[in-house]
Subunit: 207 residues, 2 copies
DNA sequence: CCATCATGTGTACACTGTCCACAATCGCAC
DNA sequence: GTGCGATTGTGGACAGTGTACACATGATGG
């Protein structure tokens, strides 16, 4: 943390920098992840960061991974409330839970959300461990799992399964971004909750 | 443009700065709209900008308005290809056109798109004239119009009309953002087109 | 014709990311 | 142990940014 260290070596500077970056992102989104400020909070000179990250973008990427882990935790928490029965209604309910959890995370942690899902990455890395929550799955993996269930229980025709992640994710992500930093910024709380519910219903109905 | 002016006064500096800002945004999105660079391109000292904008954010906002105008033009172009008949199928076709036009703009002008729809604004201003395309309507207004048609022709129950903009917009905007600067960055062209079509279908079916 | 006011200039400051040369320390071969 | 090489952190520097303050210029209305 911010304890002025006695030793020349820091111990685990990389982790400290990521933690400081997460704290910054929490308060101001991706742009607030300032390399110099992170080193300051880690009690270290600015250049020390370059021993662990090639440049600022790489630090932000690591922070983004951590933020995706937090998002996964929020989704897992929402999923925990719905019984894991092996039938269509409960599979649909789990899909709703994933969407609601995603939106809840966006509302509760807007800064983290933006750094998690508003920073260029690639699809190949969507499943990797750095982005996982406590349960070991990344947000993308959680969504994919519920869609697989929908297919297994016959609620989603197999030929519509490919790229179905994109549909579900797009709808929910779009609402979150529009509300967080887009033209819907000043929407009232109750309208946002209502819109969230209806977007999720649109996905369940239209996927 | 970049012609070194002879006179002390500039003439229409505000407009020049916005145009320079649009050019910058086109190449690099919102972060590329650099106040000093805009003044440089306008052939003027950095501080001159402060006679027309309170700060950088205000310049970016003006650039965003202009970019939304360009988006409206793209949507209008897409709408122009579908006959304006007064029946359900053609109203649905117009809704598709709005979505496809939006996605096309995102693909053709990613920088402008991000400055248009990734910058905090508010819903109150969504319809105002600065954001309008050649046809005089803002992107939001174009969408609202097609949704009104859907209600008029009986394809959308009136009780589902409120906030239906949010549903349609969210789905399409989400896909665009995920592909442009989110985790779906490296998706292939054909997958993106396919995903676009399917998202639009999901909206038509699920709204 | 001159005063006023809008508009553009110059200088300055704090802040950022990043480069370079140097210093301290850890860990391993002998 | 001892010395040495690789890691990791430091210090100083530079270009670039947004923006504040005082000043210069020139168009305009009395």
């Amino acid at each position: 943390m911010s304890t002025a260290r006695a030793t020349y070596r820091h111990g685990d500077l990389r982790r400290s920098l990521i933690e400081a970056g997460v704290a910054l992102a929490r308060e101001g989104g991706p742009d607030a992840v300032v390399l110099r400020e992170a080193t300051r909070r880690a009690g270290v000179s600015p250049n020390a960061a370059y021993r662990h990250f090639a440049d600022r973008a790489e630090l932000v990427e690591a922070v983004s991974d951590a933020a995706q882990g937090a998002a996964a935790a929020a989704i897992e928490a929402e999923l925990a409330d719905v019984p894991a029965a092996s039938d269509v209604p409960s599979a649909q309910e789990r899909l709703r839970a994933v969407g609601i959890g995603y939106l809840r995370f966006a509302r509760d942690e807007p800064g983290l959300f933006r750094v998690a899902f508003g920073v260029p990455g690639n699809l190949d890395r969507a499943f990797e461990a750095e982005k996982a929550g406590p349960g070991g799955s990344s947000p993308f993996a959680l969504l994919a799992g519920t869609l697989d269930d929908l297919v297994r229980f016959g609620a989603l025709p197999a030929e519509r399964r490919p790229a179905a992640e994109l549909l579900a994710w797009s709808a929910v992500h779009g609402l979150a971004m529009l509300v967080l930093e887009g033209p819907l910024h000043e929407l009232g709380e109750e309208i946002r909750v209502m819109a969230g519910r209806r977007v999720v219903e649109m996905v369940v109905r239209g996927i």
